[in-house]
């Protein structure tokens, strides 16, 4: 199905700009190719899109519904609006919900200054969270010799789950429970250090947008993420 889409050339408008694209491209990729920035959190280049964070929602003319730019394919004649006041308002409120959900103490976080959530707040002009913080009591798992998982900072973007299942192929991570009780886990919700499936490759660490997963031994602000995973995904090939 995608091969037929890939051969189609479609034209569309994003924020008034005429764009040309292949039929198998997403609104997000076309927008970025054309220098239009749509904010994202759960999207990660090289991983399957799941449309979970809802930060990249855009308006499409003629539809009352909003569409996740990361997981919606472009179609002929589409007119996309990426930054209306309504979208800005929704994005900010979604961020507020995220901040209120867990325990994000930016000031003392190992990712302070290198955190996508923190940067997003600044970018979208979020100066405070109007919703009450929930203050759940969450665990820190430091049983792994090299990495630490801190549920307090997890935004459930599932990047770790996807990178581990799709790129590393180990599928150590998954999500347990549901709703507000959902948590990222390793194996049978066992201590990470006891995992029989983890290869300690560190990909989950480097795709994590916050410091829900980080390298052990880092002090505040020291956890800088590397961006090798997207390249890894792009460079995959069958040898011979």
């Amino acid at each position: 199905m995608n091969s037929t889409l890939a051969s189609q050339i479609v034209t569309l408008k994003i924020d008034g700009k005429d764009c040309g694209a292949r039929g198998d491209e997403t609104i997000l990729s076309v927008a970025r190719e054309n220098g239009i920035d749509i904010p994202t959190l759960c999207h990660y280049d090289g991983l399957t899109d799941i449309g979970a964070c809802r930060i990249c929602l855009v308006e499409v003319k003629g539809s009352p519904k909003l569409f996740a730019a990361c997981s919606t394919l472009v179609t002929e004649g589409m007119e996309v609006s990426t930054n209306s006041p309504r979208l800005q308002r929704y994005r900010k409120t979604i961020l507020e919900l995220l901040f209120s959900e867990r325990n994000h103490v930016c000031a003392v976080c190992v990712s302070n200054g290198h955190c996508e959530l923190q940067a997003m707040a600044m970018k979208l002009g979020l100066t405070h969270v109007r919703l009450p913080y929930r203050y759940p009591n969450l665990k820190v798992d430091a049983t792994h010799t090299r990495y630490v998982q801190d549920d307090n900072r997890c935004i459930l973007c599932q990047r770790c789950v996807r990178v581990c299942a799709e790129i590393e192929g180990a599928h150590v991570w998954d999500i347990m429970g549901r709703g507000i009780e959902a948590r990222a886990i390793t194996d049978l919700n066992e201590p990470w250090g006891a995992s029989t499936s983890c290869t300690s490759c560190g990909k989950c660490v480097h795709v994590c947008p916050t410091a829900a997963i980080f390298e052990k031994g880092k002090s505040a602000g020291e956890m800088v993420k590397r961006s090798f995973v997207s390249e890894l995904a792009a460079k995959r090939e069958v040898y011979e």
Binding site: V110, V140, D141, A142, T143, V148, G193, K216, S219
Partner: protein, 495 residues
């Protein structure tokens, strides 16, 4: 507009009692209040210094990776975050059980000295100079740094500038003035650059000029405060501070703001206990809780509670040492110690001691800047945790600061205890408040100036209530009536 003075209230016993409330105690770093308890004749029966906020660091750091502790505990206090960071980093060094590179230690020392400059400047110029310049009886609206700016712009400018220089050096070293996450377990996370060193060297001369000018001025007006010197916390007590490790017979224990061993001296200057390994602090220091304050009262264990009252801080440090170790400060120190035979007892002299310590810090900064190895890039030992328990002790501007951590096999905090400068001084502060209150608060007539003196005596300790409230903190003044059984029959707080 001043303190509310309550109307007489009927105590449970039918007696008249009167309470005076000073709330908050202003111009000290933190939250606190003072209760002066009067008897039915209007005389001061007792005075209590309450620390009124608790924040819970000892509990809520539980479960965090210990590497985050320097930054978390820095948030105990924005005035001396460096002290907490360093004490914390030192405790963490012990958890790593590695040798911190020499340069790493030197850079931490520089950071600490820079913080002495800014913190002591803040205490002296911003918080205490209004009393010194305008007198204890000046109108309260003007008795603050803004009044100083108006009336004594030169001195105010000196103060602002000197504190600014301290902060600037911190920024050059650590990248940020307040709460920079530069000290880390095993050292610091960035080496000093050559341009950075030049910048520091460039600002030092001005700082020397200011501190010399201020010392000269202060010594010239010292006579004006004879009363205060006599009354403000002038009583015998023990003194404690870190000093350089030494041979007790050589009398060469020097001032060390970053490391060393504990020494206790008594009111006559006799060494009570020497060369105490700070890791074993619990063998010498106990902590007691009082029902009226969120600040605990540490005491010297061998002497028991509350006879084991001791003081820490600038005055204590200059009292316990045999010399400072830098030429200019040594000269000033000798002159200072000549004020009285034995040791200096009046807490008022903390102001003086602070100025000398600024001078010492500037000298040390200059020495370290010119140290050959100071630009060495090897500033951090990398390791995972190798021990389950660590104690980090440092001299914060206000006195000795102890961080004590325990971690589990994974490196997560399981327990912490913190003793801060104002804690050590708690017993002495209460004693001082009572001393001043008894002297100044008499009968029905209570003047603004009298109450201000009660506050001012606390100010001589420069109690960092931010620090003391790491456990929980705040500083309003309250006056309450307490019956002979110790029940509060009335309490006035003023909001």
């Amino acid at each position: 507009m001043s303190q509310s003075i309550s109307v007489p209230v009927t105590a449970s016993g039918g007696k008249l009692a009167r309470t005076i409330t000073i709330d908050p105690v202003t111009r000290v770093e933190g939250h606190g209040r003072i209760t002066i308890q009067l008897d039915d004749k209007g005389n001061v029966a007792d005075a209590l210094f309450h620390v009124t906020q608790i924040r819970g660091f000892e509990k809520f750091c539980e479960g965090r990776p210990f590497q985050e502790m320097p930054s978390i505990t820095a948030r105990i206090c924005g005035i001396c975050p460096v002290s907490h960071m360093l004490a914390s980093a030192k405790a963490c060094d012990e958890l790593l059980a590695v040798r911190v590179p020499e340069t790493g230690i030197k850079l931490r020392r520089m950071l600490n000295h820079a913080q002495y400059v800014q913190s002591h400047a803040l205490s002296f110029f911003h918080l205490s100079s209004p009393d010194l310049l305008m007198g204890m009886d000046a109108e309260p609206q003007k008795r603050n740094i803004f009044g100083v700016i108006e009336k004594h712009p030169e001195l105010a400018r000196d103060g602002v500038r000197l504190r600014g220089i301290g902060q600037q050096i911190i920024e050059i070293l650590a990248g940020k003035k307040i709460h920079a996450a530069w000290p880390v377990p095993g050292g610091v996370n960035q080496a000093l650059t050559a341009p950075g060193r030049e910048k520091i060297l460039a600002v030092l001369p001005e700082a020397f000029t200011i501190i010399n000018r201020t010392l000269d001025w202060y010594k010239s007006v010292l006579e004006n405060f004879r009363d205060e010197i006599r009354i403000f916390g002038n009583f015998p007590s023990l003194f404690m501070a870190l000093v350089t490790p030494h041979d007790p017979d050589e009398h060469n224990a020097m001032l060390d703001h970053y490391d060393g061993v504990f020494r206790f001296v008594d009111e006559s200057g006799n060494v009570v206990k020497d060369n105490i390994d700070p890791r074993k602090y619990t063998e010498h220091i106990g902590e007691a809780t009082e029902a009226y304050s969120y600040l605990k009262s540490p005491f010297y264990l061998p002497k028991g509670y509350a006879e084991g009252m001791y003081r820490v801080g600038p005055l204590a440090r200059l009292n316990v040492i045999d010399r400072t170790g830098t030429p200019k400060a040594d000269r000033e120190w000798a002159e200072f110690r000549a004020l009285r035979r034995g040791v200096i007892l009046s807490n008022f002299h903390n102001h003086y001691a602070r100025l000398i310590e600024i001078l010492f810090a500037l000298e040390r900064l200059e020495q370290l800047c010119n140290d050959k190895g100071i630009l060495d890039p090897h500033v951090r030992a990398i390791a995972s945790h190798n021990a389950h328990e660590g104690v980090g002790v440092i001299e914060a501007p206000r006195g000795t600061l102890i961080h004590h951590y325990k971690i589990n096999d994974e490196g997560l905090m399981t327990w912490a205890n913190l003793i801060v400068a104002s804690g050590h001084n708690n017993l002495a502060m209460n004693r001082s408040v009572l001393q001043v209150a008894k002297h100044y608060v008499k009968g029905a007539k209570i003047s603004e100036g009298m109450l201000n003196r009660v506050e001012a005596v606390i100010r001589t300790y420069d109690p960092c209530l931010s620090c003391s409230t790491h456990a929980a903190g705040k500083m309003p003044l309250v006056i309450e009536a307490v019956d002979p059984q110790g029940n509060v029959v009335s309490m006035l707080t003023r909001d």
